[in-house]
């Protein structure tokens, strides 16, 4: 069997597995977020928080919950790292410097997991397990909560109420993420991912002498890193490290975990708004982009253009033998079209066009299928824009799911899609214009520019992967990337929740003959077009200076 065919078959197997999980998981999620019952353990948690889970919140109250919880998360994680040196169970590792601690705290709370540190030499058991891994769970649950709030905005009428943030947060953790994570972690351990607290110890070597390894609770963190589309590796090499991703099967399984919840949420959207076909239309849009990007990526990686790859006879630089080019390409596309940023191969050493595809995936706003929650709300905002464009073409007031898309709604949607490009382009321009940030580049010329563009794209879109040639552990990058991550996460949430509140307050308009049928393939096609054109126009000049210049050289 040729490697190309094997790659295509892996892609098909992945799609089959996701299709099998789609209906049961999507329906289950809809039940979780619609049910009025509380589990006993949840009641204990609500008592601990001191919140009444049955209070309905309007959008400002919901947003205040999101922000208060996230500010607490940043403060706690910052302090944990600053105190690492005196905490027990930290392997004797020193405390993290203020700028890096801020960067890391912002990064994990914003579901980005950009890492300017080397996991194995900087973070001890306590910070990894009780700090970073916790944010992997809760930042994912916050993302799902905001998406569900937007779905409620479409589903509810003549009320401004969007549900209860604390209930959505706790249910996401207790009923969704933890159960899947437990099963997934054990599957990973069965394949060779480590799970221990043995600290740093010496192990013999074949030719004599010893090597030093650190142990750790890797499997339990690895599974939620993928499932919550977080992406922060226990080790520096992330999912390329054999202790995080030991076999070809675990590679495919980890990609499955990345895509699982974002894909199933489109079903949840359909169920909660009363039309599963609307969910299929959104899913079809996501799938079209994802399959298209994967096909392009496999094509360019198997063709291995670029002097060094031509000399080597294949694009294996930065890739592991067990995954090969097929498995690595699928992972690279899936991690950058979601907000994950975990890597099983190093994007900096991909072909020029391959690197460009990973960047473009993030620039689309990570909506195909996107991060947990953020993918769905990002795509729904795009759908609002697409409906608006279609409305302009036929001269009708645009509506989506029975809700009028008026001036107010379009303002919120437009603000949403302007935030990330503004962050990416302004910060990249500043870094290029100032004298010192450029010293962090490993490669020169077009690829050096790409390293910096990639960094701000990754941070502002909450991805977290890197063209890791960039030495990002400087005060400039730690600070600006930290800001980009926080603003890129929470400003869009403000507009999503405002939009949700506005929609929930409306009276539904009945569908007529003239209503745009948003459950049809025509609309999916329009949506794909809107996504690509809006991104293309925004980022084309920057892409032309970086990956396009390199790929066409």
């Amino acid at each position: 069997m040729s490697p190309v065919l094997a790659g295509v078959l892996q892609l098909l197997a992945l799609m089959a597995a996701l299709a099998l999980a789609y209906v049961p998981l999507g329906n289950y999620l809809a039940k979780v977020y619609s049910s009025s019952k509380h589990l006993r353990v949840e009641r204990w948690i609500y008592k601990g928080i001191g919140a009444n889970p049955d209070t309905e919140m309007r959008w400002p109250a919901y947003l205040r919950g999101v922000l208060a919880f996230s500010v607490a998360g940043v403060l706690f994680l910052y302090l944990l790292q600053r105190l690492q040196g005196v905490l027990p169970g930290s392997l004797g590792f020193a405390s993290i410097d203020p700028d890096q601690a801020f960067n890391t705290a912002a990064s994990f709370v914003a579901n980005t997991n950009w890492q300017s540190y080397y996991g194995e030499q900087a973070m001890g058991h306590v910070v990894q397990t009780a700090g970073l891994a916790v944010q992997n769970f809760v930042s994912a649950a916050v993302g799902i909560a905001v998406a569900v709030a937007l779905v409620r905005g479409f589903a509810r009428s003549r009320t401004g109420e969007l549900g209860n943030f604390w209930a959505d947060l706790v249910r996401g953790v207790v009923r969704v993420l933890v159960p899947i994570a437990v099963v997934g972690a054990l599957i990973l351990v069965a394949c060779g991912v480590i799970q221990n607290f043995s600290g740093i110890h010496e192990v013999g070597q074949f030719t004599g002498g010893t090597q030093e390894w650190n142990g750790g609770a890797v499997a339990s963190q690895e599974v939620i890193k993928e499932l919550g589309t977080n992406g922060g590796g226990y080790f520096n090499a992330n999912s390329a490290h054999p202790f995080e991703n030991p076999t070809p099967f675990t590679n495919l399984f980890e990609i499955f975990l990345i895509l699982l919840i974002p894909v199933a949420l489109t079903r949840t959207f359909g169920v909660m708004t009363g039309s599963v076909r609307q969910g299929y239309a959104i899913l079809a849009t996501m799938a079209t982009i994802w399959v298209g990007f994967t096909a392009l990526m496999m094509w360019t990686e198997f063709a291995h253009h670029g002097p060094a790859l031509q000399a080597a006879g294949g694009a294996m630089e930065g890739k592991e033998v067990r995954f090969g080019i097929g498995g690595s390409s699928i992972f690279a596309v899936s991690t950058t079209l979601t907000s994950t940023g975990a890597v099983d191969s190093f994007h900096s050493s991909y072909t020029g066009l391959g690197g460009g595809i990973t960047m473009l995936g993030m620039m689309l706003g990570e909506i195909a299928p996107g991060g947990v929650g953020s993918g769905l709300y990002g795509m729904l905002v795009m759908a609002v824009i697409a409906v608006f464009i279609a409305g302009l073409m036929v001269g009708r007031t645009p509506e989506y799911l029975g809700k009028k898309i008026g001036t107010r709604e379009i303002k919120f949607a437009a603000c949403y899609i302007l935030i990330t490009p503004a962050l990416v382009l302004v910060f990249t321009a500043a870094a290029m214009a100032l004298p010192t940030p450029g010293d962090s580049m490993t490669n020169s010329g077009a690829h050096g520019f790409s390293e910096i563009l990639y960094a701000y794209t990754s941070a502002s879109n909450n991805n977290g992967s890197a063209f890791a040639g960039l030495n990002a552990d400087t005060q400039w990058f730690n600070t600006t990337l930290g800001l980009a991550m926080l603003l890129g996460r929470f400003l869009p949430m403000v507009f999503v929740l405002a939009l949700a509140g506005s929609l929930a307050g409306q009276q539904p308009v009945p569908a007529t003959k003239g209503t745009l049928r948003t459950e049809k393939p025509l609309f999916s096609g329009l949506l794909v077009g809107a996504v690509l054109i809006i991104t293309g126009l925004t980022y084309f000049p920057a892409l032309a200076l970086g990956p396009l210049a390199e790929g066409l050289a």
Partner: protein, 225 residues
């Protein structure tokens, strides 16, 4: 003003309490429970898949190693010990720069781009070395025979595997250096070649450490006789 400050403080306190409670669930109970079950069911795997030769632990079957000769005086980089099968280059591997009470292996890739001159030179040098090392009298190796994984660094720098092509290419050299018949060594490689999982997942591969351990067992009695 005063009430808004109080409200903000109250809200932040609720956020902090929520975080602490969820930290107990996901940061303490969950990892400990998973560790307990994992250690009970799969102790070998959970502790790093350590592998033994002659009763001694010689590494992990998952972590690639270097098979080099001891460093001679005046040398900066050790020479490969050509008696053993060689793994992939690992130019991205590092040593730790903080918390230096330890000597940790720092996993990583080179992150050099496809048009990076340094990477191009590494690839060319590695290819020349593979051709030179593996050409034995009567069995020359051509540059076009060398597979890509033999001259590129992996993502982790710890890739435990090489492609079957690269293993096959080393057979004549290893047989000559150890005084073994070529077909016996080839058989060893074939026995240690893992094909794709279920026929299509991943790529065929040879685990270098496991292969070298088997080779050592093959050599030892022959040398003793």
């Amino acid at each position: 003003m005063n009430t808004s400050v109080t409200n903000a403080a109250r809200l932040l306190a609720a956020g902090l309490r929520a975080l602490l409670v969820l930290t107990v669930v996901t940061g303490i109970v969950y990892p400990l429970a998973v560790t307990g079950v994992a250690q009970g069911l799969f102790p070998g795997k959970a502790n790093g898949s350590e592998i033994k030769a002659d009763g001694k632990v010689v590494g992990s079957s998952l972590i690639g190693q270097q098979y080099n000769l001891p460093l001679k005086k005046g040398q900066e980089t050790p020479e490969p010990d050509l008696k053993w099968f060689q793994g992939r280059p690992a130019n991205g591997l590092g040593t730790n720069s903080v918390n230096t009470q330890y000597k940790l292996i720092l996993s990583g890739a080179t992150n050099r781009s496809a048009d990076n001159p340094e990477l191009l030179q590494w690839v060319k040098d590695a290819k020349a070395a593979v051709v030179k090392d593996n050409s034995v009298p009567g069995h020359p190796v051509r540059p076009s025979d060398v597979p890509a994984d033999a001259v590129t660094s992996s993502g982790s720098g710890l890739d435990p595997d090489i492609s079957p092509q690269y293993a096959d290419l080393q057979v004549h050299r290893v047989a000559a250096k150890n005084g073994l018949p070529v077909d016996r060594v080839q058989k060893l490689v074939d026995e240690h070649t893992t094909s794709r999982t279920l026929g299509f997942i991943g790529e065929p591969r040879v685990n270098v450490l496991e292969l070298n351990i088997a080779l050592k067992e093959l050599v030892a009695p022959a040398a003793g006789r």
